[in-house]
């Protein structure tokens, strides 16, 4: 078990295959820099993927454009959607929350979804709840996919 990870497993997030693919392809398109976005939905199920602009585009950092963030959060509110997750890429490292990810996890109700492109041909996605610096892995449930993403150690294909 990695430092800070708890055994308890809260509910995961559910994403349709199209949403999952949209998220992964958005992140892949910005490699080798990190990219980021917002997952909106209802009851833990993602119904909308919002690719966001990374205003600190390096291979090791992301920071969402606040102007876009305001616009998206207002649109979500108008459409009755809630913040289900915040996603970003780790182009060169494992899909595990970094110190900076944990320090800036201000939305404990939202899943932190990280897609690693260490092996660009086989992106690896993982999701976590981060509450007061405590990191708990949760599954990403993609209907139609074998198993639940994040429960097993195998890598994922975005196809």
């Amino acid at each position: 078990m990695e430092d800070g990870v708890e055994d308890e497993q809260p509910p995961g997030i559910e994403m349709g295959p199209e949403s999952f693919r949209e998220m992964v392809e958005h992140l892949r398109a910005h490699a080798p820099n990190e990219a980021c976005g917002i997952l909106a939905g209802r009851d833990g199920r993602v119904v909308r993927v919002y690719p966001m602009t990374n205003v600190e585009p390096t291979p090791y950092s992301y920071f969402m454009d606040p102007k876009e963030q305001f616009a998206v959060m207002k649109e979500m509110r108008k459409e009755g959607l809630s913040l289900v997750g915040i996603y970003h890429s780790h182009p060169c490292t494992t899909p595990y929350p970094s110190r900076k990810d944990r320090d800036l996890a201000f939305y404990p109700e939202a899943a932190t979804v990280i897609v690693s492109f260490r092996d660009p041909g086989e992106p690896e996605a993982r999701a976590y709840r981060i509450v007061e610096d405590r990191v708990t892995p949760i599954p990403i449930i993609v209907p139609g996919s074998p198993g639940r993403v994040g429960e097993k150690s195998e890598k994922l294909s975005a196809a």
């Binding site: 090791y60 969402m64 606040p66 509110r77 780790h90 900076k100 800036l104 939305y107």
Partner: protein
């Protein structure tokens, strides 16, 4: 007075500034972006911008990180 905060009606002290609004809600100013009536307010002006009855205030924590 009444303002809208993230879409919810909220009471707020007359003459409140953005800085006092954040302080009353135990929000660290260096961790948020603030918009008043669709205009983003620079952090250095949080103690200068006074809120008015009916203002629409949006308050968002930063979303960022790194690997």
């Amino acid at each position: 007075m009444m303002i809208s905060l993230n879409g919810q009606k909220e009471t707020c002290d007359d003459g409140a500034t953005i800085a006092s609004l954040l302080q009353n809600r135990n929000v660290r100013p260096e961790m948020v972006s603030v918009e008043v009536n669709d205009s983003i307010i620079e952090r250095g002006r949080y103690d200068q911008v006074r809120l008015k009855e009916g203002d629409s205030v949006e308050l968002l924590y930063f979303m960022g990180g790194g690997s």
